[in-house]
Amino acid sequence: MLKKALLMLTVLFLSILVACSGNDEESSGNNNENSNETENEENGEEEAANDADPAEVRIMSHFFSPTPPEQDGEIEQLIEEGTNTDLSIEWVSANNYEEKFNVMLASGDLPDLMLVPDPFSPVFRQAAQQGAFWDVSPYIDDYPNIKEGIADIAWELTSMDGANYGIPRPRPSEGETFFSLRKDWLDNLGMEIPETSDELYEVMRAFTHDDPDQNGEDDTIGYAGYVNPTDMGNMGVFEGIFTGATGQWKDVDGELIHTSLLPETRDAIEFLSNAYQDGLIPEDFASLQNSQAQEMFKSGEAGMISEKAGAFQEVYDTLKSINPDFEFTSLYPLPEVNGYNPAGPGFASVNVISKSVPEEKMKSILQMINDWMEDDVFQLHRHGIEGVHHTVEDGEVVINTEKAQEDAIGDFNQIVYVSDPYASSVKETFPEEAKELYKEIQDAREETSVPDVSLGLYSETAQTYLPELEKSLQDLKTKIILGSETIEAWDSLVEELEQDLDMQAMTDEMNEAYQAR
């Protein structure tokens, strides 16, 4: 008995050792292959490389779906075919991307093409200044899709000392996240679309207390809000409608001022604190997650949320399964409140090419992005493969949403995307009347939309000071709204901040950069 067990253990242990070394060989073999091929590429054959050997590209990006696209899946293979590349894509959950990114950056283990979520972060700036990435600005003129598909303003905002270390990922600038409400509830209550913060408050109050769903029960809430530990979460829009500024800085007569110092921010906090006391926002907004807030709206418990109209398909599907008479256009995005709504910068994050990549390969990566932006390749992650993710009926593309979501084909948009100006408001699966309404609203929003003026401005002091400031501001805001601190605490904090040397230095540096622009 004992001997047997011993034998088994030995065999197991040996097989582990064998498996271990076998695995090693395999991986080192792979490495050799890799280096051989890059050597080949370096060794001349440059012209031939383009039409013959597919370029090997190691990409790292993040994903938002429950599971990332399959490794070397069908779509990936078709993209490889379309761009003449051999891709190995490392998907990292958007939850943890920053951790992995920082660790890889610090250990110098960089993929060829990599997403940089925040091109203004000190870690990235430092690495870029020390020459970790290619400055692509001298090359982009050769790639028409990249040049034209990405707005000039995006290149400008992400440039650093005249160099473009990152390729901005284009995004629509209009139709940013803003209030959306239940129009059917509004109609039930006989109320108008709110245009001012007071009217908004009244709507939230009525949505909470006046039985907007007419089921005779007090089971609704005005706004499905939540805050994060370091930012206002989806309640940041309330500050926006008071201050009229997107982001943390406001241009007041040509001078940038941090929004926390504005009296309007105080008004916004009081507004929310009243809303909390009146029960218009969730009792546990401070500990809610985004998805939980969304579920409140989806389940018909909350009458208002901040969301892009483009995200309504799922909301509609769920509300319809609860109430079969529910209409898509009952989900109504507000055009503006207090004459304000936010605009995006026209891009989100950048992709960078590691300097460890030789120039020729860097060019082939740019070529890949350029080819990828071509319609026939890009369509792969909008519609998927015909017969698998969509069918064509009477010339119309009908997407099999379930299959497309299961294969997470949308995640490829994180690597390469071709901007469609209405993408934030309208999705192909929406019914016609919803498409029309949302486009109309987006057009109306464009008139009053306010972009973030501070984007791309650099302040040395802000790098260490701002994260701590944001945190302490948010802590206090949360507490005041919850009622565990009074608004007077805010006043004294603002007074303190006005005298704060770091605050002054940061403001001066920001203004200096602002004037230089």
Binding site: L2, L6, F13, I16, N23, D24, S27, S28, F64, S65, P66, T67, E70, Q71, S93, A94, N95, N96, E99, K100, V103, A106, S107, D109, R171, T177, N228, D231, N234, Q289, N290, S291, Q294, E295, K298, S299, G300, S306, G310, Q313, E314, T318, S321, I322, F347, A348, S349, R382, A404, Q405, E406, A408, I409, G410, D411, N413, A423, S424, K427, E428
Partner: protein, 290 residues
């Protein structure tokens, strides 16, 4: 048989009641997870609290188990757990046993070295660089090797081996055993209860591997279940990244999340009964002591 006194009876009775209450408190949240995972998603959305669902639904499980990635990750986790636990037990128990013998020269020094590793941790990046230098990035062995053993387990296990008298081993030596064969033939079988306990510790550690897997494994096909689970349970703050996804992925529903939780804990629970029977055999060490 000695007759039970009244005090004994009261003690036994209140003990049973007390442990019963603890069990109920412990199991309620888990019961709730299981119930939610079997609840119809729409019913859950409407009610928010379901102690016993009206409409049972397997939809969440069907969705998850039809997902290739999910099933694959279960396989990866199983591999990590089985192979990792075996390696960990071999290395840790042999090391701990050697250190428990008084004749081992320099054991104090080595024990201090081991203790030091509990207190001082070089941090993520040096560890990453080591794994990279060893060529183990993107290999499942990276996840196993970095958590193969740790000071806690070595010191604890040594504490167990301390109670095995040297005389026992000496007796075996006379029978022609060397230290190695004595360890295998006598010590290991004797310490089976503690081996089983530590095996369970290691197994759970490997099953719940998350951060190392996230760092060292690049290909999603090599991810263990916990990486996928974390991704489902925690929200990414997509709004702040200004993200656009033409085929918007909705966040998974609460019922789906709970089904994923259930799927992620059932396999590791299944090894428990196999090890449990060994716990009872512990009496042997004690009887040798005399």
């Amino acid at each position: 048989m000695i007759k039970k006194s009244l005090g004994d009876k009261i003690f036994d009775f209140s003990n049973l009641i007390f442990l019963g209450i603890i069990s109920i408190v412990t199991i309620f949240p888990i019961y709730y997870v299981v119930v939610v995972s079997f609840t119809d998603p729409i019913e859950y959305l409407q009610k928010n609290m379901v102690l016993f669902p009206e409409n049972w639904s397997l939809a969440s499980y069907e969705y998850l188990l039809s997902s290739g990635a999910f099933v694959q990750s279960l396989g990866v986790s199983t591999f990590l757990t089985v192979v990792g636990t075996t390696c960990s037990l071999v290395i840790t128990s042999s090391f701990a046993y050697a250190l428990s013998r008084k004749k081992f020269k320099g054991r104090k020094f080595i024990l201090l070295l081991v203790l030091f590793t509990i207190l001082f941790n070089p941090g993520i990046i040096p560890n990453y660089l080591l794994v990279k230098e060893l060529g183990l990035i993107n290999s499942l062995w990276s996840v196993i090797l970095v958590s193969l053993s740790n000071g806690w387990f070595v010191i604890l296990m040594k504490g167990f081996y301390d109670s095995i008298p040297d005389t026992l081993v000496e007796a075996a030596t006379i029978d022609g055993c060397n230290d190695f064969t004595a360890w295998i033939k006598i010590i290991l079988p004797l310490s089976l209860p503690s081996i089983a306990a530590f095996g369970l510790f290691f197994a759970v550690q490997y099953w719940n591997q998350y951060f190392n897997a996230l760092l060292y494994l690049n290909e999603s096909s090599k991810w263990p279940i916990q990486v996928l689970l974390q991704n489902m349970l925690i929200d990414a703050s997509s709004s702040s990244l200004g993200d656009v996804d033409p085929l918007l992925q909705p966040p998974p529903s609460e019922t789906l999340k709970m089904a994923a939780v259930v799927i992620a804990i059932v396999p590791i629970l299944m090894i428990y009964p196999f090890l449990q029977k060994h716990f009872a055999k512990g009496v042997m060490i004690g009887s040798i002591k005399e």
